[in-house]
């Protein structure tokens, strides 16, 4: 396979471009989208590259159709992705829940911009953290990854596909306008340097008859994709292990939903990823995700220079959330600060995790500017 961009070397590219290239290297061969700032460059790159790798990129009539089409393509056996921003992400929520319920591996990129509503289309924000986790209705479980650099946007996109395939689940890559439009040096690996995970397919007729069962005991059923003669029945209604609608039996619903939770939560140690910076001896912890982490690293260095023992916990996975680890951290430190580009979303998760063991303070900033390191420092030193 020849790739329409250089591999095995570094390039200087935008976050959006990095996401598109990573998707192609991850094996994504179906992209459906609808134009929206600041995610359009992902779509444009996919439109340019896909035909060169035997893939397809199509523009649908809206975001609802875009996510519907990638779910359809995933059942046809393809690795599939769509990308959007807040308004489009809101429109996708119903079908995101359908992907959870039907255990369809897809990757949805949300490039956050200022909201609500049309808001600040060209500026970054972190206002969709709660939406990415809880946007669709009903009890549900999915995975949300959050990069803080263009390199991470690339790496986490590949990881998003791997997690989607491994756990038969939708994965949200939650980034923002800053990372999407920023150009940074990114190492684009050769295909042989990338570890790819493919979805489990049924190994025999018995497994194929249980598209929503648990034949391997890991909570993840093999996926009897369409076109293979399995006559699979897929529905968003509550269904039994064979896929048949069973909408009024409490036990069936509970069994299905709890397995969908379990298949992710039982593997949360593998799914959850974070980076720590000067946290071992810290008395002050700063907990961040995404672009704000960049300012927080600098803020930690500045605080250390001032003699404040500060450290950073940067969350790469924001859902599932490691509440236990936050509690452990809260036992070690005096205070936790949560700088984020909204009026308090990650803060609530951290506060729940801290469980009263340490004070948690929000450093909120909205309007489309990332916190400066000084703004964080000033709040810490008072």
């Amino acid at each position: 396979m020849r790739y329409p961009f250089p591999v095995g070397k570094s390039d200087f590219i935008q976050g959006d471009e990095a996401i598109a290239r990573a998707a192609i290297l991850a094996g994504c061969r179906f992209y459906a989208g609808y134009p929206i700032t600041p995610a359009s460059e992902i779509f444009e790159a996919m439109a340019l590259y896909m035909p060169l790798v035997d893939g397809v990129s199509i523009q649908m009539e809206d975001e609802i159709a875009s996510i519907a089409a990638i779910i359809g393509a995933s059942w046809a056996g393809a690795k599939a992705m769509t990308a959007t921003s807040g308004p489009g992400f809101s429109l996708m929520q119903e079908n995101l829940g359908y992907a959870v319920m039907t255990e369809t591996p897809i990757v949805v990129v949300d490039v956050q911009r200022g909201g609500p509503s049309t808001g600040q289309p060209t500026l970054p924000a972190q206002g969709d953290i709660m939406q990415s986790i809880w946007g669709t209705h009903g009890d549900h479980m999915l995975i949300v990854l959050s990069p803080s650099t263009v390199q991470e946007a690339f790496d986490f996109t590949i990881r998003a596909f791997n997690l989607a395939e491994k756990y038969r689940t939708p994965v949200v890559l939650l980034t923002d306008a800053e990372i999407a439009h920023m150009r940074e040096r990114v190492y684009i690996p050769k295909p042989e340097e990338i570890e790819l995970i493919e979805r489990k397919l049924p190994q025999n007729e018995e497994e194929a008859k249980l598209p929503f069962g648990d034949p391997h005991g890991d909570g993840v059923p093999p996926m009897p994709i369409f076109g293979k003669g399995y006559r699979t029945y897929v529905t968003g209604l509550t269904h039994d292990e064979r896929g048949r609608p069973r909408t009024v039996e409490r036990e069936v619903h509970e069994r299905l939903i709890k397995r969908i939770f379990r298949k992710i939560l039982d593997h949360k140690d593998e799914i959850i990823s974070y980076d720590e910076f000067m946290l071992e001896d810290a008395e002050i912890a700063i907990v961040t995700t995404g672009i704000v982490s960049r300012s927080a690293v600098r803020a930690v260095k500045m605080l250390r220079e001032k003699g404040v023992k500060a450290g950073l916990l940067k969350l790469n996975t924001i859902w599932p959330f490691d509440f236990d680890y936050i509690e452990e951290l809260a036992e070690r430190v005096r205070k936790i600060y949560v700088p984020e580009m909204n009026l308090g979303q990650l803060y609530h998760l951290v506060k729940e995790g801290a469980n009263g063991k340490a004070e948690v303070e929000l450093i909120a900033k909205i309007g489309g500017e990332v916190h400066t390191p000084m703004e964080i420092v000033e709040r810490v030193v008072g």
Partner: protein, 283 residues
């Protein structure tokens, strides 16, 4: 399995464990399911080469759970958008959407319009019973002017969408409309729709005696079928009639049957072209 099913020649196409159907007595859904199964049978299509996609509502159930193929029972209105992904992913399979008027022409109207414009090789069987049946008989964009529904308890003041005419204008390769009182013509049209390369729509005017007929002086299914027959006008005759005379009539027949470039073929043609241009094509 009850004995009665073994006497039904099309039973081989149905998920027996899902029977009997949840459709009300007298519902037109069974006629549509029967017509579709007969069309598949007459064309000798292996159901393993079929993917049937549906949305939400009574008519969506015709496809899933009852039809024994790969079936995708999706969210309200979005069946055609899901089917688009399936068709692009499995271009050699026949992809069929079976759903109702509320699902495909109201909440999903935009997807229907754009799939026709794209002329993607999907067959849509749209069961038009003028009403939201499953949710209790609310007005639909297809409800006749003046009809009584649970959300127009005094009378419907809106005019119905002419679905077939709209989709023919949007660019579909094949469009036909029949009623459940025209079963043989319906089977023939479904067969043509399945064979045509491009977007095909078969609109089936169908009876809902429970939610529509009962409130509109036609509580017996047979009364509704007689209503269809009495008011059906073949398209050739309709062309010569003034619009006011066509008010409340059902124009039946083939609206278009034409060859136009098909979306998935064009996609693949484009991929070949681009790869050749960049010297990626293996010779």
């Amino acid at each position: 399995m009850p004995e009665i099913y073994s006497k039904y020649p099309m039973i081989k196409y149905l998920r027996k464990e899902a029977l009997p159907t949840a459709l009300c007595p007298g519902c037109g859904g069974g006629t549509v399911l029967n017509a579709f199964a007969n069309a598949v049978d007459q064309l000798k299509i292996d159901p393993r080469d079929l993917v049937v996609v549906s949305g939400i509502g009574c008519s969506a159930w015709i496809a899933s759970p009852y039809f024994l193929a790969d079936t995708l029972h999706t969210t309200h209105g979005r069946a055609i958008a899901f089917a688009t992904g399936v068709k692009v992913g499995l271009p050699d399979k026949k992809v069929v959407v079976i759903s109702g008027d509320g699902d495909l022409a109201s909440i999903g109207g935009n997807h229907l319009l754009h799939a026709a414009r794209r002329n993607i090789d999907i067959t849509v069987i749209l069961v038009n019973n003028f009403i939201y049946g499953m949710t209790g008989g609310q007005v639909a964009p297809t409800t006749p002017f003046g009809a009584i529904t649970t959300t127009t308890p005094y009378r419907n003041i809106e005019h119905p969408l002419q679905i077939s005419e709209t989709i023919a204008a949007a660019g579909a390769s094949y469009v036909a409309r029949w009623t459940t009182a025209h079963v043989y013509q319906l089977i023939e049209s479904i067969k043509k729709a399945l064979q045509v390369k491009g977007f095909s729509l078969v609109e089936v005017i169908s009876q809902c005696p429970v939610q529509f007929g009962r409130r509109n002086k036609m509580k017996e299914p047979a009364e509704m079928l007689r209503w269809f027959l009495k008011n059906s006008v073949p398209i050739s005759k309709a062309k010569k009639m003034p619009p006011e005379e066509l008010e409340g009539k059902f124009v039946i027949g083939e609206f278009v049957n034409r060859q136009r470039p098909e979306f998935v073929s064009e996609l693949n043609k484009l991929i070949d072209e681009v790869q050749e241009h960049f010297g990626l094509k293996e010779v």
